[in-house]
């Protein structure tokens, strides 16, 4: 589609208009970190963040989500809860968008999940190519510094202005409604290409996965019985933090709650994690992944082999580095594991 540019000033106006008229979710500061949240005031928006605490999956698969309400009685009623309030997701980094694109496939394959799809369709995605990398980021090594689909608009900071790639009609309309953008010139195109080509270098030099992404799945398949799993998992808390911050983790638990009237209630789903001890337990206390090491390995293999299978071989780790930074015993960093296991 077409390409435009927005001066930083015009971007500010665009953001102000957006915030005034649309439910806008963007990045803002949270203590020493950043997080996605509702933006009520354009001044809150941070565009040069490194990474957010939680991934944007929060807005497509909330931590806790009502699936349906029910009412017991002679005529039991079940009322599915599909939430589809339109919103604009502003400033999602390329690697997170890559993850979102993967989730689009996962939630759609075989049985399409209406809850996810409704939210996904309600979203207008304004993606952003990163200008900062966290000390843990390694998206530069995971083919995730840029994306070529999934956005309505894609912004690249090219100095005093944003280069705006228009991905969809929806994006084009949004832009024309709220911004005064200019057509991108050849110079702009060149500037943007230059910024893009240097994106991977934003990640620190010691945050490189040394092997080729294509070879990872094969190497990981061979490492099932490697001693590394036992060695690292010895220090694992089974806390699931690595699961919960990951943009490509999507497992959930389902729970019923009944109100004190004992007649009405809801079924909800809640983020879950395969590192948690009860995850694969069944009645009678049989646990199909009883050892920490089994669970620990499962997550890494899911990212590199099992889910990758469902994605035509694309790795389900996008290199955001969230799991690495959140793991207190510092055992789960994909960079270290991949570099040790892949030749």
């Amino acid at each position: 589609m077409t390409a435009k540019t927005l001066s930083k000033e015009n971007f500010k106006k665009f953001a102000e208009n957006l915030v005034k008229s649309e439910r806008t979710i963007g990045v803002k500061a949270k203590e020493t970190k950043y997080e996605f949240g509702n933006i009520n005031n354009a001044d809150e928006i941070v565009m040069d963040y490194d990474v957010t605490l939680r991934s944007p999956r929060t807005f497509f698969q909330p931590p806790k989500e009502k699936l349906f309400d029910f009412k017991l009685g002679a005529n039991t009623e079940i009322k599915p809860n599909i939430e589809a309030d339109p919103f604009v997701l502003l400033g999602i980094h390329s690697y997170d968008l890559k993850a979102l694109n993967q989730m689009d496939i996962i939630w759609d394959e075989n049985n399409a999940d209406q809850h996810y799809k409704a939210r996904r369709n309600a979203a207008t995605v304004i993606a952003l190519e990163p200008t900062q990398a966290s000390e843990w980021s390694f998206w530069g090594s995971m083919d995730s510094s840029t994306v070529d689909k999934g956005y309505d608009l894609l912004l690249t900071d090219i100095g005093n202005k944003y280069y705006v790639e228009v991905g969809t009609e929806k994006g084009a309309n949004l832009l024309s409604k709220y911004a005064s953008a200019e057509d991108a010139t050849n110079d702009d195109n060149t500037a943007r290409d230059k910024v893009r080509s240097e994106l991977p270098n934003l990640c620190k030099a010691d945050r490189k996965v040394k092997c080729d992404t294509d070879g990872i799945t094969a190497s990981m398949k061979n490492s099932y019985n490697n001693a590394i799993w036992e060695k690292l998992a010895e220090k694992c808390y089974s806390c699931g933090s690595c699961n919960l911050v990951c943009p490509t983790c999507y497992c959930f638990d389902v729970k019923d709650t009944i109100e004190l009237d004992l007649a009405t209630g809801q079924r909800t789903r809640k983020w879950d994690g395969c590192l948690l001890e009860p995850f694969a337990k069944v009645a009678g206390d049989e646990n199909f992944r009883e050892n920490r090491a089994d669970r620990f390995r499962h997550r890494i293999l899911r990212k590199t082999v099992y889910v990758a299978d469902k994605l035509n071989g694309e790795l389900a780790c996008v290199g955001c580095g969230r799991c690495s930074s959140t793991c207190l015993p510092d055992i789960t960093d994909p960079v270290k594991i991949l570099n040790e296991l892949c030749s």
Binding site: P80, Y224, Y250, D256, L262, R269, A280, R302
Partner: protein, 278 residues
């Protein structure tokens, strides 16, 4: 595609009414159910449904009846926790939520013209029965039929009337055993693998269907292999923690396989090499 589904949400059940409920043993209860919307469940032998007791939760339960029986479907539920415990409190006339049928089925088409060896341990008889009854209802389509059934004790046997009828059939070989007998028991005692010495299946024409508690598989599979039945023809039904039944929640994964979608029925050829399968 599953028939008992809410068209708005994958996770919302439809309502079914219990037409009949009775205790089979002290821990297993039988339910005969009918979908309130009048639809046939339309399942294949070996598939399961997600059964909801609203306010308590949902549990995957194998369909125990054969699709040849129309107008209703049957379940056998062991009281193992919250949902199954709540189900046990329900009687005829109560309603439950149903989603499904889900999962892969026993190869009832592919095995036509072959010998079938059923090996069912304990509650495994419930899912196996959907195929057993299908075979009995289409007896002409299959050759030799052998059923091995093992229970922990005589009181834990269920569907005893049906077992008795089967035992009287000329064209079915039913062998039973219990781990621990009692005064009333005159049959075999010993674990289910001991029955293998009494049979002589033809490895070229036999498909062996194994359903039982997790611990049973390893031993039964070894016996079936000793009889030279190939991995393609050893069929198992596996149990895992399941929260959705539709391949999303991640709980039932056996390495790369989703037990609810790729299974629960697998051939040994599919899962024999998968470390987490048994």
């Amino acid at each position: 595609m599953a028939t008992a589904m809410n068209d708005k949400s994958l996770y919302a059940p439809v309502i079914a009414t219990i037409e009949e409920a009775k205790m089979l043993t002290t821990t297993e209860k039988y339910f005969k159910l009918k979908l309130n919307n009048g639809n046939e469940l339309g399942h294949k032998p070996g598939q399961f449904v997600e059964v909801s007791v609203l306010g308590i939760g949902e549990a995957p339960i194998s369909i125990s009846s054969s699709p040849t029986q129309k107008g209703y479907f049957e379940l056998v539920v062991r009281n193992a926790g919250n949902v199954t415990g709540a189900l046990h409190k329900l009687e005829a006339g109560s309603t439950v939520g149903i989603r499904g049928p889900f999962g892969t089925n026993f190869p009832y088409e592919e095995t036509k013209g072959r010998d079938i060896l059923f090996v069912a341990g304990g509650l495994g008889l419930a899912p196996a029965r959907s195929f057993i009854n299908y075979v009995l209802d289409n007896r002409g389509d299959y050759k030799d039929v052998t059923i091995l059934f093992g229970a922990k004790s005589p009181t834990e046997r269920f569907f005893t009337d049906e077992l008795k009828k089967i035992s009287e059939m000329k064209d079915v070989n039913l062998l039973e055993t219990v781990d621990n007998g009692d005064a009333s028991w005159t049959g075999n005692t010993g674990v289910i693998t001991t029955l293998f010495s009494k049979i002589n299946p033809n490895p070229n024409t036999t498909s062996c269907v194994v359903v039982g508690p997790p611990i049973m598989y390893k031993f039964v599979i070894a016996e079936a292999k000793k009889k030279d039945i190939t991995d393609d023809n050893i069929i198992v039904s596996l149990e895992r923690n399941m929260k959705c039944g539709v391949g999303k929640c991640g709980h039932c994964q056996i390495n790369n396989l989703y037990c609810c979608q790729d299974g629960p029925v697998f051939t040994l050829a599919e899962v024999g090499q998968i470390p987490e399968a048994f």
